[in-house]
């Protein structure tokens, strides 16, 4: 790829999750040239790893399918995976962006036939299952992966598996000689849709995520519920594979906490309410979900869903920030705390604890351009020169619906920038 494909009329979207895809598609469908870069080997982001969306209980992959169809049909949109922005210089309407392209070791010839994966034996923790399962060193990220092309994990290079993979491919798709590349492109505007990451649960020490197998995060619970996930969609606890029928959901795990994330992550209340319904779906009346909360933030018409869940006899709500968790010999967990509504002390046993984990900006830890305005939690407000914008969870903790709303708005603002540039360029000659 060369710099010439992009011009000051091009919009760069950083991040290929729901926000980035939406921003890129909306801009491209307005007739703009768009480059969408994604750090990982596939588009889809975190939503592709969710089982269902609240409050409709519909499947994220359904929207992903539509978006991929939009994307495949749009010639103005160019996707680069395993690509990261390393620097942005210049000014609104005239940026120079340096991209680092990591090698996939698999080229366009790949037909996703899967022979390479069969041939290799080495495994890594599957990042698309949050490490709850293993995947081969040659793998297709997930069933909805785009591009639908295998990837070699870089640790395979120099091993016998690498040769095996190469030999297994009849189509010459495996290129072990691929190297990291750096390219520079010119763009008019940048949309940062770098999304979020789950807060490091091990840091919330009283909950023992790093000590107790059956304390997991809400994003991991999504994988358990998903039929494509590590348990084939069964709600089993990690320690012994037993059915988890009595589950505690701990709200504000990392959020609203000066020791961790100062902000409220917005989505977690609804996510837990949704997840109680996975439990119910799996076990009918023969299960128990307990939601430990400070405030249930089922905002606007999500309240309907909250009221519905409140009617569910398998779900109970405890107004309490759980103080600590201990583990008994059976691997079950004892939650200690006080229900502050009226003051009731409890030591409640549960099969599994799901931490409604907070959203941290994924951009925390990556170097953003100097011109960028960041808030105290690391969320991106935009660039001072008005040519770079944030969309979705990169801008503030948001659910999918609001992320797309935000991405659509960001797309418009980026279009305005390139329009202004075009006007100036025309005026100047």
């Amino acid at each position: 790829m060369t710099a010439s494909i992009a011009t000051s009329q091009t919009i760069l979207v950083v991040g290929g999750g729901i926000s980035g895809m939406s921003a890129a598609l909306e801009a491209a469908e307005c007739g703009k040239q768009v480059i969408l870069v994604e750090k990982s080997p596939t588009l889809g982001g975190r939503t592709a790893l969710l089982y269902r969306y609240f409050p409709k209980m519909c499947h994220p992959t359904c929207g992903l399918e539509i978006n991929l169809k939009r994307l495949k049909g749009n010639r103005r949109l160019r996707v680069l995976t395993q690509a990261e922005v390393t620097s942005v210089s210049g000014r609104s309407g005239d940026y120079k962006v340096t991209l680092k392209l990591s090698p996939r070791y698999v080229n366009e010839n790949c037909t996703a036939c899967g022979e390479c994966a069969k041939a290799v034996s080495g495994q890594i923790p599957n990042p698309y299952d949050y490490g709850l399962s293993e995947t081969k060193l040659a793998y297709l990220p997930h069933a909805m992966a785009y591009p639908q092309r295998y990837v070699l994990d870089s640790s395979i290079i120099g091993t016998a598996d690498a040769e095996k993979a190469r030999e297994a491919c009849k189509y010459g798709a495996i290129d072990l000689g691929m190297k990291e590349e750096t390219v520079e492109i010119k763009v008019g505007s940048v949309i940062w849709a770098t999304g979020w990451k789950p807060y490091d649960a091990a840091k919330i020490q009283p909950y023992g995520y790093d000590r107790f197998a059956n304390v997991i995060t809400s994003v991991e619970f999504e994988r358990l519920a998903d039929s494509h996930g590590p348990t084939g969609g069964k709600l089993l606890r990690p320690s012994d594979g037993q059915a988890a029928k009595n589950i505690a959901f701990i709200q504000c795990a990392g959020s609203r906490d000066e020791n961790h994330l100062r902000h409220c992550s917005r989505i977690c209340c609804m996510a837990s309410l949704k997840q109680t319904q996975y439990v119910r779906e799996a076990y009918g009346e023969d299960c128990k979900s307990s939601v430990y909360y400070i405030d249930i933030r089922a905002i606007d018409r999500f309240e309907d869903f909250y009221q519905k869940v409140q009617q569910d006899p398998t779900v109970r709500f405890v107004k309490s920030k759980v103080a600590s968790i201990t583990q008994n010999d059976a691997g079950s967990l004892i939650l200690h705390g006080v229900d502050t509504e009226g003051y009731h002390r409890y030591a409640a046993e549960h099969d599994l604890v799901v931490l409604a984990i907070g959203m941290e900006p994924e951009s925390n830890g990556i170097k953003l351009p100097d011109d960028m305005v960041i808030d105290s939690s690391g969320f991106i407000e935009g660039s001072k020169d008005g040519g770079q914008f944030a969309a979705g969870a990169a801008a503030s903790p948001t659910d999918v619906n609001r992320s797309v709303q935000s991405a659509t708005a960001a797309a418009l603002r980026a279009i305005q920038v390139v329009h202004r540039t075009a006007a100036t360029e025309t005026a100047n000659g």
Partner: protein, 206 residues
């Protein structure tokens, strides 16, 4: 010293909250509590008291002055700091508990005969006297605080421990005649007196 004591406190008004902010150590944090209850669940002595910190904070905001200051609960604080490190609002709860207890004690409305209240006083008096704690005298004054008879009983009950400590050279019976003390005791007392004076003035506790 306490016109506050005679004032009727209106419910859910600022007055008691303000009083706490001005006069209680770290009292300005009380308003920041969001009632999550993590302190209540974290206290090792939680099961033993009536009002958890979070509840006391709500009571303060609700203007329940009498109930708060006469409560036994903050005297149960073991200074373990579990609540402090877990509080999502980073309230110095341990210190607020100490501050509330101290304030109630200063006002003279803390529960009479509350054992920790008495111990705390004895402890401070002990250290204030010589600048260092005299463990033997501290122990003895504790045993005899309820009078001679019960003191002898307690002391006899703990005799084996005491003897063990003496044998292990970890308790010195001779301390009764003096023990460790500061050289510049005068200066030490002057500091204490001055500090007390400044604080009382600042808090209007004269």
């Amino acid at each position: 010293m306490s016109d506050h004591n005679s004032q009727a406190v209106a419910r859910y008004r600022n007055n008691f909250l303000k009083e706490v902010e001005e006069r209680v150590e770290e009292g300005e944090w009380v308003k920041m509590c969001m009632q999550c209850g993590v302190c209540a669940g974290s206290c090792p002595f939680g099961a033993h008291w009536q009002h958890s910190p979070q509840k006391l904070f709500m009571m303060i905001r609700a203007g329940k002055r009498e109930e708060v200051l006469t409560s036994d609960s903050m005297w149960m604080c073991t200074s373990c700091y579990n609540c402090v490190v877990r509080c999502p609002r980073q309230l110095p709860i341990t210190h607020i508990m100490h501050g509330l207890a101290s304030y109630a004690h200063r006002l003279g409305i803390a529960p009479k005969g509350q054992p920790t209240r008495e111990f705390a006083k004895i402890f401070w008096d002990n250290l204030a006297k010589k600048g260092r704690v005299n463990e033997l005298k501290l122990t003895l004054s504790l045993y005899f605080k309820d009078g001679l008879v019960s003191g002898i009983k307690t002391a006899m009950g703990m005799q084996s421990i005491g003897l063990g400590m003496v044998k292990a050279k970890r308790l010195n019976p001779m301390e009764i005649f003096g023990g460790h003390g500061l050289k510049d005791l005068k200066g030490f007392h002057a500091i204490l007196a001055k500090a007390r004076e400044i604080e009382d003035k600042r808090k209007g506790l004269t």
